[in-house]
């Protein structure tokens, strides 16, 4: 568990890494829209090609991306099964007792599966593999700035998220340490019924809460010692700048979206 990081940032010097995080957020939204625009096999082929190009550009090894997909395998299989068995259509492919499988169902399942996969891969490449969480919250704060007009505490919220992300690895390590220490005294978290298991977590949870409060207290003091006073008159160490490549990336994605809409017009094969 040591060295655990949230979001599996993959350090590299690729073009995707170097994009402005705000641009990447906009790109992510556009990309998600693109995945939902796809209607027929040609459009999906274009989406697939686009995602593959994105992965190659980001220089994140395919192996790492595939490993990141493992947790959603269950969701994927579930979606496939539901779509295959529960879609009613016209062309019956196979029938046995109460099970009917239609051509439409199979196609729906395949499209749905590809859509989910591309959705996950695309957003992960943009937001987690190539962007550090800290930079990302910075971008969120900047993008949500207009909401300050209606008195939403955007800065405070972003600050909270930044601190939280900064502390997740630290606290994960601390949790791991406390668990090891209690295990070293023979604590057993995995046997017994539900009540016994819940009780066995007490030796972890109490020290965790105590240390959380202690940490929060120290942190608040440290923030005040450094004269933190909210966002009024606050300057940044790293100022975000849009560059021409950000614009090019957004335009390229818009072009892809247009391409998908165009391809949807060809009535080839099954259309969702």
């Amino acid at each position: 568990m040591k060295g655990f990081t949230l979001g599996q940032f993959y350090p590299s010097d690729s073009i995707v890494h170097s994009l402005d995080p705000r641009a990447k957020m906009i790109l992510t939204i556009l990309y998600v829209v693109c995945t939902f625009l796809c209607k027929n096999i040609l459009a999906y082929a274009l989406l697939l090609a686009m995602t593959l190009a994105l992965v190659l550009l980001s220089k994140v090894p395919l192996r790492i991306i595939l490993r990141g997909l493992r947790p959603i395998l269950f969701v994927l299989i579930f979606t496939l099964v539901v779509n295959v068995f529960w879609t009613r259509g016209e062309v019956l492919l196979w029938e046995w007792k109460f099970i009917h499988i239609y051509y439409e169902g199979v196609m729906n399942a395949v499209f749905m599966g590809v859509r989910i996969l591309m959705l996950i891969v695309g957003t992960c490449v943009f937001l987690t593999y190539t962007t550090t969480p800290i930079v990302l919250t910075d971008a969120i704060e900047q993008l949500l700035k207009p909401l300050k007009v209606i008195h939403l505490p955007v800065h405070e919220f972003a600050m909270m998220m930044t601190i939280a992300m900064r502390f997740i690895p630290t606290l994960a390590e601390e949790t791991d340490k406390i668990m090891s220490a209690q295990k070293a005294r023979g604590a057993d978290f995995s046997s017994g019924g539900l009540v016994k298991r819940a009780k066995s977590l007490i030796p972890i949870l109490i020290p965790l809460f105590v240390s959380s409060f202690r940490r929060a207290d120290e942190l608040a003091t440290a923030m005040e010692c450094r004269c933190y006073h909210g966002d009024k008159g606050r300057t940044r160490m790293t100022v975000l700048h849009y560059r021409w490549r950000d614009l090019v990336a957004v335009l390229a994605l818009v072009a892809f979206g247009a391409g998908i809409i165009l391809l949807n017009r060809f009535g080839i094969g099954y259309t969702a």
Binding site: G3, M160, I168, L171, D176, I178, S190, P207, D217
Partner: protein, 332 residues
């Protein structure tokens, strides 16, 4: 303190804590090796040996770190053995191998010649026999009283109630905490007392091998002395093998029979303390020093003062110097 800053800090930390806890709970579900059934205790441990241990953190990722690289070492029974090495040399990983908190990638951990991972469901029994005090154990208390907290280990061993109480009292006596502390909340103790209570929590299991990861880090000299005295007493009355990780060469010189020097995930050298400290070049190569007092005597000898070599503690240095001065041979 301004309230809203405190609120930001607290909600951020609690949020982070929640995420961290969820991640770890998923991790235990996967990591726990088999079910741990009640089992007869292991026999007394006479020998501890590591054979060709390899361990990597975050294997298969860009952050992969080889923490132990084909480490083989054995510890003499009944000795106090110091494990030294600079930060990141693999000391803490090494000691977590001994009670099965970490499972080696390859290689064997042998207690009495038997691999502890032969029967993974019995690993809890191993932990009762090899007691590990982790680094900074001060904040790992959770019960309402010190006594209950120290009893956590023996209670997990499913001992009879009287024996649990007796062991807790005995363990607290080793570390110099008296009866009136037992009823206190662990949160009301001073820093040094918390540390001692934590060490007592492991001593209460009466392990045959007591392992302490930097037991005195961050304590004042008095607190440190009390802890080392407690460790000595524990060894004397139980005959246990004791392993200590420390960065203080002075402490190691005064308490350890043997030393294991680690460097870059390997064991550089191991042997009796006085032999190891006679090789300052070797230690310097591992980023370590010999005790300050030995350095001083070395400088004296280079100036022509006939002090004998092999003196590593202040007490012996004082004796040696007064011997020389008494005979009138010493230069000032």
């Amino acid at each position: 303190m301004e309230l809203w800053i405190a609120i930001i800090a607290l909600s951020a930390v609690l949020l982070a804590q929640a995420v961290a806890a969820v991640i770890l709970l998923f991790a235990i579900r996967k990591k726990q090796a088999g079910r741990q059934t009640p089992d007869e205790p292991l026999e007394k441990i006479e020998s501890v040996e590591l054979q060709d241990i390899v361990y990597t953190y975050n294997p298969g990722t860009p952050q992969a770190v080889r923490a132990l690289d084909h480490v083989s070492v054995s510890f003499a029974p009944g000795h106090i053995v110091g494990i030294i090495g600079h930060t990141g040399s693999g000391k803490s990983t090494l000691v977590q191998m001994l009670n099965g908190l970490l499972r080696p990638e390859s290689g064997r951990v042998l207690l009495n010649g038997k691999d502890i991972w032969e029967k993974p469901h019995r690993i809890v029994q191993v932990r009762f026999r090899v007691g590990l005090v982790m680094q900074y154990p001060d904040y790992q208390r959770f019960e309402e009283t010190v006594e209950k907290d120290v009893s956590f280990g023996p209670r997990n061993m499913k001992l009879p109630e009287e024996e649990i109480k007796e062991r807790a009292e005995r363990a607290l006596r080793f570390v110099g905490l008296d009866r009136d502390v037992m009823e206190k909340s662990p949160f009301d103790l001073s820093g040094g007392q918390k540390r001692r209570a934590a060490i007592a929590g492991v001593m209460a299991m009466q392990p045959d091998v007591l392992v302490l990861d930097e037991p005195a880090a961050g304590l004042d000299p008095r607190g440190r002395d009390i802890i080392f005295e407690g460790i000595r007493q524990y060894r004397a009355s139980t005959g246990a093998t004791v392993l200590i990780i420390s960065h203080s060469m002075e402490d190691m010189a005064s308490i350890c029979d043997d030393l294991v020097v680690m460097d870059h995930a390997r064991v550089l050298v191991s042997g009796p303390t006085n032999e190891i400290f006679l090789q300052p070049e070797l230690l310097a190569g591992a980023g370590l020093d010999i005790p300050k007092v030995t350095q001083l005597l070395e400088m004296l000898r280079q100036k022509g003062v006939p002090v004998s070599s092999g003196i590593f503690t202040v007490d012996r240095a004082v004796a040696e110097l007064s011997r020389l001065l008494g005979r009138g041979e010493g230069a000032s």
